[in-house]
């Protein structure tokens, strides 16, 4: 029905929702906001909001993220946003038809965000303590978690969780935290270093003080974007 009489098409509200993850204290955390308006006022939800008439979805996602969490422009501008999928169940919003385009993003551990816009508050929440969320955001969060877990296998995305310089132990913890499994240290090291362009050694003496064990060498993210061969998650070996 691609007729174009402007009055002939059913109007929809279009929103964006963001599942923004970080690894903090060995646990996967997700960025949540407390809703300041009905419906679901006072409940926690993924950050997001309405598309403006001139915006593409990704622009709107960046804007809402900055508005609702006060993350700095430095953070949000360079941030890699990936479209997850679109949720269009007619009943997903109790008041009206809202079609929502969901995005996923990964950040290194950052200071606590602040609320703003329509968000009363914002905070990092451990992923397994996030439910129940408003609307169908539990479903979106589950899809996003599954997606980033899968992407770690065949992309270099894990470095997006790490600060500019990191140790292989920190990188390994990203995988262990997202997948919820324990990985063999020497084998992980071998695979990462065998993939050209995944990580590159950085000068600067080994490791900041305060940690235990032998000092580790520091690395930065390399230019590679994909992993050949992939780093597959083990099947059934819980941590």
């Amino acid at each position: 029905m691609q007729g174009y009489d402007p009055s002939a098409f059913p109007p929809f509200a279009v929103t964006v929702d963001l599942a923004v993850f970080t690894v903090r204290a060995m646990r996967l955390h997700v960025l949540l906001v407390e809703r300041g308006q009905d419906p679901h006022r006072g409940r926690w939800a993924l950050p997001g909001g309405f598309l403006l008439p001139h915006e593409a979805a990704e622009q709107a996602a960046r804007r809402e993220l900055a508005e609702e969490t006060g993350l700095s422009c430095d953070t949000t501008e360079g941030l890699h946003l990936e479209q997850l999928r679109t949720y269009s169940d007619p009943d997903r919003d109790p008041r009206m038809r809202v079609v929502s385009v969901a995005f996923t993003a990964l950040l290194p551990d950052l200071p606590e965000p602040r609320g703003g816009g329509d968000a009363a508050r914002a905070r990092w929440t451990p992923r397994d303590e996030a439910s129940p969320l408003a609307f169908d955001h539990d479903r979106i969060l589950a899809d996003a978690h599954e997606r980033i877990g899968a992407k770690l296998e065949y992309t270099c995305l894990a470095t997006a969780f790490c600060p500019a310089a990191f140790t292989l132990g920190e990188l390994r913890q990203v995988y262990e935290t997202v997948w919820g499994v324990a990985l063999d240290r020497p084998n992980f090291r071998r695979k990462v270093l065998a993939t050209p362009g995944f990580v590159e050694p950085v000068a600067g003496g080994p490791r900041r003080t305060g940690a235990r064990g032998k000092p580790a060498a520091l690395y930065t993210a390399g230019p590679a974007r994909s992993l050949h061969p992939p780093l597959l998650r083990p099947e059934g070996r819980p941590r």
Copy 2:
């Protein structure tokens, strides 16, 4: 901006677009319709159309596919539709803001479709002769082709291109056609048969007549949905 005054949100038109592929005569084909209305009247485009007020995107995709191409209900009901991504560039439609949710589907070779609804005509077109299409459909088609190519690597999706019973040679042609590379016959056979649940042998004597060479055994799609280990496409070996 999650305010809920019904007059406070910008209204958008929401459409679905479908990239439906098949393998016919050793070439990848895509289902196209000729537009019967402006804009782009007379040009070829992916089938699709407006979401109705009560519909989820996937329902709308099924309905539009049936309306515009006359494919039988048997075909469209059981069809596996996969959401590709959502296109929301403000300029993607010359008349107004249209946000489109794109889907991908795979079919075995079928009779020629007919037009219907807003489609003047419908036909299977070789994928490399499809451009230029209306709107941003060249981009959607490219994304869809890339996606199905990637999915063949780690899912059992290839059997969706095949009839109920097929030979390993036919299955291999699916991979070769979508990827545009030549695969080693013995190695392909070994990998497919080594993956439990990918294909299952079927009784009925070998191969229908009319083909040359030694008769091949027939198989049907097995219960497996994913491929472990994956069947990776070779890097730089054009057919």
